[in-house]
């Protein structure tokens, strides 16, 4: 038995999903796409039931990855029962998607969620009326309070049926649907998609294309518009008969502060600054704790075992990788994710996107791009994964370059450990300053030369809500799990490779080989090249390796301030870490991954060389 939750973004699907399944969630990547499907199993009346949380979408006709995935899921009958989750406060708009779902004729029940919020707004929903309009069972729930969530499973198993609702389309469209069914035997939903130019059946597309053209000539309106209007009209009719507006309590509208340039923009900057500061303070404290514990209780006992050298080397590499993963993932990235989930759950992120739209336009992007950028301050890997929300290849490419340059929390460690500690806090900030200038310059150049069209921002503002601690934690936990899943194997493999590299004495050869660059061009000691190489593995390792190779933790005594400064800026700019390159490759293809790597290497070396020359 398989049940899938389907609905608009922000309708509370994930919340319901979490409450139905607890935290036993597997994240499955759908074959051939980068969209994740969350699945969980529950036991109900001694039967195993698999629950799938489909990604939130506004429509089934579109061409975004999420829409295609859900469409295929429905077409293939991916679930025995679909639970359509509708937002009670936006019922009319949510019914639009519902009218499309019924065309695939799955077995359905409807869950009208956020009834608590609707009550607060004075909306009264007539369940019986709605149920008879839709022709299926309707359940009112309030997921944030857990109200009636336990009734979903019994209803889904007991009284799901195919909805009787059918959209009455314009008579030309209906005639076209009938003739396509008669001539090609195409089902209604397929013909509707074909009329809008979507589908794989060439015959059907050609036939539908010809009819669509005639309809468009006659109506002076695109078929898409006609179909959408028909669906919206039906949704409005249903909503009008099922929802009554009672007394509305007047509440203070926070948006009058948050979405204006003043004080909205200062608030935005303050929030982002506070987020990074918190992550930094909590992160460095926790990292020290974890690394110390790990070294004392695991690494030292392991080295005390005195295993054969090769095995010891490999084992040591694995342990170091684990330590690195835990030492960076939990303190920095997990803390950051909590902050990020807070921003999302309160609904602030969409306001940030709105306010940032203007600045982002200058960079050849638009408001929504602020989300990957902010994530990039935590860790580049999930930031690259979130590039999906940008709609054009052009924007994804530009943003990929910029994100790879944003100082992530690991690079923050290098800046703090090398520059802030030995050169001065002011110089540490100057690195940020230089990096930001370079990011802006890169963006300006890229927005000129990257081919493709610019797509603007169309973002639904999510309602402002009070976040709930356990939900924020659950969301962050899910994200950190996904991060570990991707980054951990790469960390371990590269760590072993580098361990063997050292074991066979290749480090010296490498240092000799690149000495002209390190010593002559950058003015750094020879061993710095190995530290930079380790930085590719994970950024803050550049700092730790430098300390190991120079033979002292007091870097100020072995390198000059200029050398330390050059080293920090080169390792910050220089090539993104190996995990980033891997996700870039997966998300955007080999070409972009190589271009980004080459560009950042070039940039790092150039800036390092310039600093070196200026000082000479």
């Amino acid at each position: 038995m398989k049940i899938a939750l389907l609905g608009n973004p922000g309708a509370g699907k994930s919340l319901i999903f979490n409450q139905l399944t607890g935290l036993g969630i597997e994240v499955n990547r759908y074959p051939g796409s980068s969209v994740c499907l969350e699945c969980g199993n529950v036991c109900y009346k001694k039967e195993k039931i698999e629950i799938v949380d489909l990604p939130g979408i506004y429509s089934l006709d579109g061409s975004s990855e999420e829409e295609i995935l859900v469409r295929k899921f429905l077409e293939q009958g991916g679930a025995d029962v679909i639970v359509a989750v509708l937002d009670a406060t936006k019922l009319e708009r949510n019914l639009y998607l519902f009218t499309q779902v019924t065309e695939f004729s799955p077995k359905l029940i409807a869950v009208v969620n956020m009834i608590d919020e609707a009550e607060r707004q004075g909306l009264i929903i007539d369940v019986d009326n709605l149920s008879s309009c839709l022709g299926i069972t309707v359940l009112l729930t309030a997921a944030s309070e857990g109200r009636d969530i336990d009734r979903i499973l019994p209803l889904a198993l007991g009284s799901a049926r195919v909805a009787t609702l059918q959209v009455p389309y314009d008579h030309h469209i209906e005639a076209a649907l009938k003739s396509l069914e008669k001539t090609l035997g195409a089902p209604r939903y397929k013909s509707l998609l074909a009329l809008q130019g979507t589908g794989e059946d060439r015959m059907l597309l050609d036939a539908a294309g010809a009819v669509a053209h005639e309809i468009e000539l006659r109506h002076r309106m695109s078929v898409r518009q006609i179909i959408a209007t028909n669906r919206h009209n039906l949704s409005r009719k249903i909503a009008a008969s099922a929802v009554r507006q009672g007394d509305r309590k007047k509440t203070y509208d926070l948006d009058s502060l948050l979405t204006r340039v003043f004080p909205g923009v200062p608030i935005l900057i303050a929030i982002l600054f506070f987020l990074l500061l918190t992550v930094f303070v909590i992160g460095s404290w926790m990292q020290e704790l974890i690394v110390q514990t790990f070294t004392t209780y695991i690494i030292l006992p392991f080295t005390a075992l005195e295993l054969p050298p090769l095995i010891e080397r490999i084992g040591f590499s694995v342990l170091i990788a684990l330590e690195a993963g835990l030492g960076i993932a939990f303190p920095f990235i997990f803390t950051f994710y909590i902050g990020l989930s807070l921003l999302e759950d309160t609904g602030y992120m969409t306001r940030a996107a709105f306010l940032a739209d203007r600045a982002m336009h200058r960079l050849g992007l638009h408001g929504e791009a602020i989300i990957p950028m902010v994530i990039g301050f935590g860790c580049t890997v999930p930031a690259v994964m979130s590039l999906r929300i940008l709609k054009t290849r052009r924007e994804q490419t530009i943003a990929a370059f910029l994100i790879s340059m944003i100082p992530c929390s690991a690079r923050m460690v290098v800046i703090a450990g090398v520059v802030a500690a030995f050169v001065g806090i002011f110089w540490a900030f100057s690195i940020y300053f230089i990096v930001f200038i370079l990011i802006i310059l890169t963006a300006i150049v890229l927005s000129r030369i990257t081919p493709g069209e610019q797509f603007g921002m169309i973002v639904e503002m999510s309602a402002l809500r009070r976040p709930q601690a356990h939900l924020v934690l659950a969301k962050s936990w899910l994200r950190i799990k996904e991060f570990l899943f991707i980054a951990m194997p790469i960390l371990i493999i590269t760590s072993i490779a580098l361990g063997l590299f050292q074991y066979f004495g290749l480090t010296d050869a490498f240092q000799q080989l690149v000495a002209p660059i390190t010593v002559t061009l950058l003015g750094l000691p020879e061993y710095a090249s190995t530290a930079l190489l380790f930085g590719v593995f994970r950024k803050e390792l550049a700092f730790e390796t430098l300390a190991v190779l120079s033979g002292t933790a007091d870097l100020g005594s072995v390198m000059t301030s200029v050398q330390l400064y050059t080293f920090a800026i080169v390792s910050v700019l220089f090539i993104p870490c190996i995990s980033t390159i891997a996700v870039l490759y997966r998300q955007l293809g080999a070409r972009i991954a190589i271009l980004v790597s080459v560009y950042t290497v070039f940039l790092g070396l150039t800036i390092g060389a310039i600093i070196n020359m200026l000082v000479k």
Binding site: S59, H232, D357
Partner: protein, 210 residues
């Protein structure tokens, strides 16, 4: 029977179910074409023998494969001609339709194909120039914060889909909740707030309402 008469019959039989939801009988055809029922009956016999029409019990008339092909091609000719006469030559719709009824029987397939291409070309040329040329309504980005509007049209195809899904269809009411100095908007439509970039806002044509 005249070829033009045959084509008129086939056209009528083909179109009848689309308009009325069931295939025609003798009396329906007679009414649609303004002829007497007996005349229709005798003509149908000719059409059955030429293999265009098959008669079902109770006087229901349907087309054979051959008949449907001819019928469809006549309808296409009619529509192309009517579109040409009204859209490009600027005749009013009803006289364009009458004229097309006469011309459709004499015109060759090639002429129709070329006319069709011309119409598509003109149509896309108009779209490239921007539909704004013939759409006089102001764009939503010209409105001020707090204005209530009715959406009139959406230009440009790239962004149209998402706007339609969010309920921004022609005829829908919307109100402008926030406008920044660069023209970015928060528009309330169907009870939801939607943030729009300036370039997207400028593609939405509206009428002001009170």
């Amino acid at each position: 029977m005249q070829p033009s008469q045959r084509e008129d019959y086939l056209e009528a039989i083909q179109q009848y179910p689309e308009k009325n939801g069931h295939p025609p009988r003798y009396e329906d055809l007679a009414a649609a074409l303004g002829k007497s029922e007996s005349e229709v009956r005798s003509d149908m016999k000719d059409l059955v023998s030429s293999g265009d029409v098959s008669l079902l019990p109770e006087g229901v008339i349907t087309l054979t494969g051959q008949g449907r092909q001819t019928g469809e091609s006549v309808i296409k000719k009619h529509e192309t001609l009517q579109c040409f006469l009204s859209e490009i030559l600027g005749m009013d719709t009803s006289s364009a339709s009458d004229e097309a009824c006469t011309l459709e029987h004499a015109v060759s397939d090639e002429t129709i194909d070329r006319l069709g291409q011309l119409i598509v070309k003109q149509d896309s040329a108009r779209k490239v120039r921007g539909v704004e040329d013939n759409c006089q309504c102001p764009s939503i980005s010209d409105c001020a914060e707090g204005d209530n509007v009715i959406i009139h049209c959406i230009h440009g195809r790239a962004c149209a889909k998402r706007l339609l899904d969010l309920g921004m269809v022609p005829g829908e009411r919307a109100s402008i909740k926030r406008k920044l100095s660069n023209g970015a908007l928060v528009v309330q439509v169907k009870g939801c707030d939607v943030a729009l970039s300036p370039e997207i806002a400028s593609a939405i044509g509206v009428e002001r309402s009170s």
